[in-house]
Each structure stands twice: as structure tokens, then as C-alpha cells.
């Protein structure tokens, strides 16, 4: 059994008014201190290469995406967010996706697609904001997923670094 020892109140504490004044002075001092709130849309959270944001397709320097529609990411995706329809192309890689959709409402930002991809075609960007007026608008197609390589370069380097470390320990 816990016995709570009540503190004997002093006269000033029992009168309450001095304590009220003490409290008021405290809040008055806090009144002038700087707010610690982050003003979100203007001051977004800092992101870096470790940030695992929404997956994006890398656009290579020649203007094409690296994806060969092998379907590895589609299989790896635990949320069944990725849908790929492959087709033939005249380019060297012979296959490219005719349709590549990620349902951002299903995506859980786990990064499995990034790990699964054999062609370094999909990477997790640092983009985190997701808003639209319709559900259909949040199913991103190729055009919406495309990002230039330069925008994702830091993440690409990071993933390579990570993988090299892992390999060296084998």
C-alpha cells in the first residue's frame, strides 16, 4: 500500500493569492519567449538522403526511365500499390513499361521496391506531401513519377554506399 505524504502547506500557499501571483509571473515570463512551433508549409522538416519519402522513377540522362518492367517491385510491394504493364520497345533494353502506376494511398513508404529493383530505376525521394481532391488523382502514373537523376542523386549515392558496406561484410 502506498501512503501518500501530504505536504504541509505554508500560510502563503493556503492563502492561494500569492501562489496565483507566482503562477501569473511565470506565464508572463513565458509570454516573451520565442515560439518553438515549426511553421510547417513555409518551414518544412529538413530532409536528407536517409529520408524515405515517396518512390519515384529515375529519368536517366538520355531522357528515358531505366525501368524494364521486370515486375520485381510489383512483387516486392507489400501493399500491392504498384501496377505495371510491360511492352516492347525499339530501344536497347527491349522492354519498357506501358503503364507504371503507384497508388500513393496504398504505398507505405517501406522502400522494398527500391531494394528489389535490379536496374536502379526506382528510388525513394524526399517528397512527403500528399494531397489531392480525388482518390484517382493520387494514383500516380509514369509522368507524375518521373524525376531527373540529379534530384535523386543523393539518395542513389546513399543506397550504393549502404549496399557496398553490406557487401564488404559478407
Amino acid at each position: 500500500m502506498v501512503v501518500v505524504q501530504r505536504k504541509e502547506l505554508t500560510l502563503a500557499e493556503r492563502l492561494y493569492l500569492p501562489e496565483v501571483l507566482r503562477g501569473l509571473s511565470l506565464t508572463f515570463r513565458k509570454f516573451f519567449e520565442k515560439p518553438i512551433t515549426r511553421q510547417y508549409p513555409e518551414q518544412p522538416l529538413p530532409t536528407d538522403e536517409v529520408t524515405r519519402g515517396q518512390p519515384r522513377l529515375v529519368v536517366k540522362d538520355d531522357g528515358n526511365i531505366a525501368c524494364v518492367s521486370c515486375g520485381m517491385c510489383e512483387i516486392a510491394c507489400p501493399a500491392y500499390a504498384i501496377t505495371i504493364d510491360g511492352g516492347e520497345t525499339d530501344r536497347m533494353i527491349e522492354r519498357e513499361p506501358k503503364k507504371f502506376e503507384i497508388d500513393m494511398l496504398r504505398c507505405i513508404l517501406c522502400g522494398f521496391c527500391e531494394e528489389a529493383c535490379p536496374k536502379d530505376a526506382i528510388f525513394m525521394s524526399n517528397e512527403l506531401e500528399l494531397a489531392d481532391y480525388t482518390r484517382a488523382g493520387l494514383v500516380y502514373d509514369i509522368e507524375k513519377l518521373k524525376r531527373p537523376k540529379s534530384a535523386l542523386q543523393k539518395r542513389i549515392d546513399y543506397v550504393y554506399r549502404l549496399n557496398n558496406r553490406w557487401r564488404s561484410k559478407q
Partner: protein
């Protein structure tokens, strides 16, 4: 300018004064809803509303538009007549009481115009009578909503307001005894003539503390806001209200606060008088009044974001067993002092 003012019909001045003072009151109430959120934010290391207009200054406008366009709900089984009447009863008496507050004197050339809607001999009686009515809004609104939370809120409001009205009146009577008049203008004048604000006299200081405590209870403000105690009663007496009717309750509360702040200024802090500057120009006087009243409005918010809510039995004990006896004794001593000192002179 002076001749022009002199030749104006009386009713023009009246209409102008009514428009300025009531408009000012409602604007103050609206700004208070912003100030409440801003001050609370600053005391908690936050920014507060800052999206609408510069520094969020247009927030009250946005709130008002929102209130107008929201759906008005009337709960099933509610008494429709009383349900509709209650918000008006909460807002109107609170707004009417500003009429007798002497905010100062406007001077154009040699013409002096008292800057208050009405100069009534029984100004304090008028204020107390109308102020006593503001409790009806809470009670009837709570009762007519046909909801247990509203009913409990209304019950608490009525018990609390009746209890603290006694302390309020008794502490006002101390000032009345010191000044010898029920006219608020005369009370201000007495303080100016004595060269001493009532708060700096021993009895006045005690009465001021009691009055301030009672005014917090009368306006249902923290730490005595039992009528709308959120953790227990959802929203208290206005749980079932929405849209503009809810806004009227809100407006009534802030108007009552503003009037209480003005009354506190008038009774204990010499109204528009400026310390150490007896011949201050009239606009300085009005500015002084606004600053003093503004401080008490700030105090309302300041206390709200500092103190936790009392328990209801603590409130009643404080009201009946502490505040009321002290107020009574204070009045008795003041009465004796005034009686004997005037007899001697």
C-alpha cells in the same frame, strides 16, 4: 469645428456615440477572441492563428463568416422558443451595460461632450440589474437544450452567478460608500478630486481584489468556468448550440468581460484620469481609459492560461465562506469609517 458640433441636433450626437461605443464593444469582443488565442499561444511557445491576414488579424472575420454559414441545429425535444431566445438573452444585457460607463470626455474647442451613451444617476444600479439578467442566457439555454450536459452547465451557471453576485455588489458598494454616489461619472470625479484612485485606499484595495475575483466568476471565466467545463460537461450550457447562436453566446461572454474590465477601471482605477497629469488633454484621458481596460482584458486571458479550474465545491466555499464574509466586513468597516469621518467634519 466647434460651431459645427454645437449646431448639430442632439440626436446626431447620440447616434454617433451609440454607434462608436457599441461598435467598439463588439469589435473589442471580436478581437478578444483573437487575443485569447494569440496570448495563450505566446504563453505556450506557440504562434497562434497567423494565416488569415497579417498576424492573423482577420481571423475574427473568418470566424464570423464561418459561423454565419454553418448549419443551425436544434436538438429533438428542445423547447424551440427558449432555445432561440437564450442566446439573445446572453448577449443583449451584456452589451447594454456598456451604456453607462464613462469612457471620458470629448472636448472640441470649449464644448465638452461626455463620451458615454447615458449619464444615469443610478448607473451602478442599472449595470447590476442588467448584469444580473445575463445569467438567464446560460440557464434557459441549458434548460431548453434538452441535454443533460447543458442542464448541468445551466445549473452551475445559476448557482455560481447568484453566489458571486453578492460579493460583486458588496465590493461595489464599498466604492459607492467611499464616493457617495451611484453615478459612475461621479465616482470617477470623486477619485479625481481626491487625487487617489480607489484601489490605493486600504478598503478599496480589498474591495478591488474581491471585485476582480467575483467578476471572473460572474463572467464564467477561468478559473471559475464551471458552466462550460469541457472535461466534464462537453461544452456546458452551449453544448447543443451551433452556428450563429453559439457565436452569440461567445459574443455575450466577451462583451461581459469587456464591460467588467471597464467597470473595474472606472470603480478602482479612476476611469479616464491619468496619474500625475491632472490637466491631461481629453484624448489622453480616453487613451488612458482604454489602456487600463485593456490591461484588465489581458488579465482575464492571462489568468485563464495560468490557473487550473477549481472544483465546484471549492468555488462555493470560496464564494460563501471566504469572499462574502470579507466583503461584508469590509463594507461594514467602510460604512462606519465614512459615517464617523463625515460626522466629524
Amino acid at each position: 469645428m466647434e460651431d459645427f458640433v454645437k449646431e448639430l441636433p442632439v440626436w446626431v450626437l447620440w447616434v454617433a456615440k451609440v454607434a462608436i461605443i457599441f461598435g467598439g464593444l463588439v469589435a473589442t469582443a471580436a478581437l478578444m477572441s483573437l487575443a485569447e488565442r494569440k496570448v495563450s499561444a505566446w504563453m505556450q511557445y506557440r504562434h497562434g492563428p497567423n494565416r488569415v491576414g497579417p498576424f492573423g488579424l482577420l481571423q475574427p472575420l473568418a470566424d464570423g463568416i464561418k459561423f454565419i454559414f454553418k448549419e443551425e441545429l436544434i436538438p429533438a425535444g428542445a423547447n424551440k422558443f427558449l432555445f432561440r431566445l437564450a442566446p439573445a438573452l446572453a448577449a443583449i444585457p451584456a452589451m447594454m451595460t456598456i451604456a453607462v460607463i464613462p469612457i471620458g470626455t470629448i472636448q472640441i474647442g470649449e464644448t465638452k461632450i461626455p463620451f458615454s451613451i447615458a449619464q444615469v444617476d443610478l448607473g451602478i444600479m442599472y449595470m447590476l440589474a442588467l448584469g444580473g439578467l445575463s445569467v438567464y442566457g446560460a440557464i434557459l439555454g441549458g434548460w431548453a437544450s434538452n441535454s443533460k450536459y447543458s442542464l448541468l452547465g445551466g445549473l452551475r451557471a445559476s448557482a455560481q452567478m447568484i453566489s458571486y453576485e453578492l460579493t460583486l455588489i458588496l465590493s461595489i458598494l464599498v466604492v459607492v460608500a467611499l464616493s457617495g454616489s451611484l453615478d459612475l461619472g461621479a465616482i470617477v470625479e470623486a477619485q479625481r478630486v481626491n487625487g487617489l484612485w480607489n484601489v490605493f485606499t486600504p478598503f478599496g484595495a480589498l474591495a478591488f481584489v474581491l471585485f476582480t475575483i467575483a467578476s471572473f466568476a460572474e463572467t464564467n471565466r477561468h478559473p471559475f468556468d464551471f458552466a462550460e467545463c469541457e472535461p466534464e460537461l462537453v461544452g456546458g450550457f452551449h453544448t447543443e448550440y451551433s452556428a450563429m447562436r453559439f457565436a452569440l453566446f461567445f459574443l455575450g461572454e466577451y462583451c461581459a468581460m469587456t464591460v467588467m474590465a471597464c467597470l473595474n477601471t472606472t470603480l478602482f482605477f479612476g476611469g479616464p484620469s491619468v496619474p500625475f497629469w491632472a490637466n491631461a488633454p481629453w484624448y489622453v484621458g480616453i487613451l488612458a481609459f482604454l489602456i487600463k481596460a485593456g490591461f484588465f482584458l489581458f488579465l482575464f486571458i492571462w489568468v485563464r492560461w495560468t490557473l487550473p479550474r477549481f472544483r465546484f465545491d471549492q468555488l462555493m466555499r470560496l464564494g460563501w465562506k471566504v469572499a462574502l464574509p470579507i466583503a461584508l466586513a469590509n463594507l461594514l468597516v467602510v460604512g462606519a469609517w465614512v459615517a464617523f469621518s463625515t460626522k466629524g467634519s
